[in-house]
Symmetry: C2
């Protein structure tokens, strides 16, 4: 029995679950006891999936999205418009953009955003590789789809200053009211941005 009183394998599983983001000690305990009761298959399927992600996932050498094959399916797709690059912070953002079905260009995954406080500078992100793709030619527009946060905005400003001299158009996603929103509950900054960017009806 460990200090907490649970048998060692359970205490260790609780500890490992608690290292995951958003999982507190209580949830970790609940998850570990669930695993204990669950059929063996289910626990081992999760264990195997964890290992497979680490073994089989690589980064695409062109856009740095996650993939099983390099280049990734998006970069390898001849139907996509190679003159457009959409810059995102994380691989998950690519999925979300693709889900809209409204974009037919390529991507570039930075793997983060500039954050001097957390020690993330351009060298910690895939910035040099992005500049390399633009310098390589054939790219007419780079669309910034970084998060509308302090770090995301700073990253997009930095990249704009880096890329514009290379003779490419640099744009970013529109700011405004999210659809379905209630103006009464919108924050000041979103409203101010929506007002600045108001459009003719």
């Amino acid at each position: 029995m460990s200090a907490a009183g649970a048998p060692e394998p359970i205490a260790r599983l609780i500890q490992e679950f608690a290292r995951l983001p958003g999982i507190g000690p209580r949830s970790a305990q609940r998850l570990a006891y669930h695993v204990l009761r669950a059929p063996e298959d289910e626990a081992l399927a999760l264990a195997r999936a964890l290992g497979d992600v680490k073994r089989r996932i690589v980064f695409c050498g062109a856009c740095f999205n996650i993939t099983e094959d390099d280049p990734c399916a998006l970069c390898a797709d001849e139907q996509r418009d190679r003159a457009l690059i959409c810059v995102v912070e994380e691989p998950l953002d690519v999925l979300v953009m693709e889900r809209t079905g409204g974009y037919r260009g390529l991507y570039h995954v930075l793997h983060g955003a500039l954050s001097p406080i957390e020690g993330v500078g351009p060298d910690q992100l895939r910035v040099r590789e992005l500049a390399g793709r633009v310098e390589g030619g054939g790219v007419t527009e780079v669309i910034m789809a970084t998060n509308p946060s302090l770090e995301g905005e700073a990253t997009s400003m930095y990249l704009q200053r880096l890329l514009q001299p290379l003779g490419v158009r640099v744009t970013r996603l529109a700011r405004g009211l999210p659809s379905g929103a209630d103006i009464e509950y919108m924050d000041d900054l979103t409203l101010a941005r929506a007002l600045e960017g108001r459009q003719e009806l």
Copy 2:
């Protein structure tokens, strides 16, 4: 790429995380992408902990608590009072009771509570084994520490009727106000129970 657009190992990991209780599709996605970014050690430590729980944990043949050794450390402890059995629904409840430091008897883990709706009858719980321990002699009191829920109360009533004829004292944990509670926010049933069980000052 799977239907959701993520590479197959990621899609599968998201799916496996989403099978855990209290983890919705969004959290599962967040967890999977966290694992992707996390050091390989961390992901494999969780995978190993999952396997170890399934391989190394058994049920104690006496009290049915989870343990690495049978009998468990509590049942094997000569210092504990063998005349007292505290009946709980789940192994986690044993830990919580032990944390209070106020109990020195043995335990019996039912592994659930009676619930006709979910098809849980006495045969699905460790009820026969509990009766066997009482019939075996030496037990003077059985303390019901099932949850103060509909199922827990029904289970404790059922066990009381089963065990009392065997000549043993059957008690249950007190009902009343939880310490630190605000009467203003107490539910009616808790207040009614606290009033019924009021004590002399």
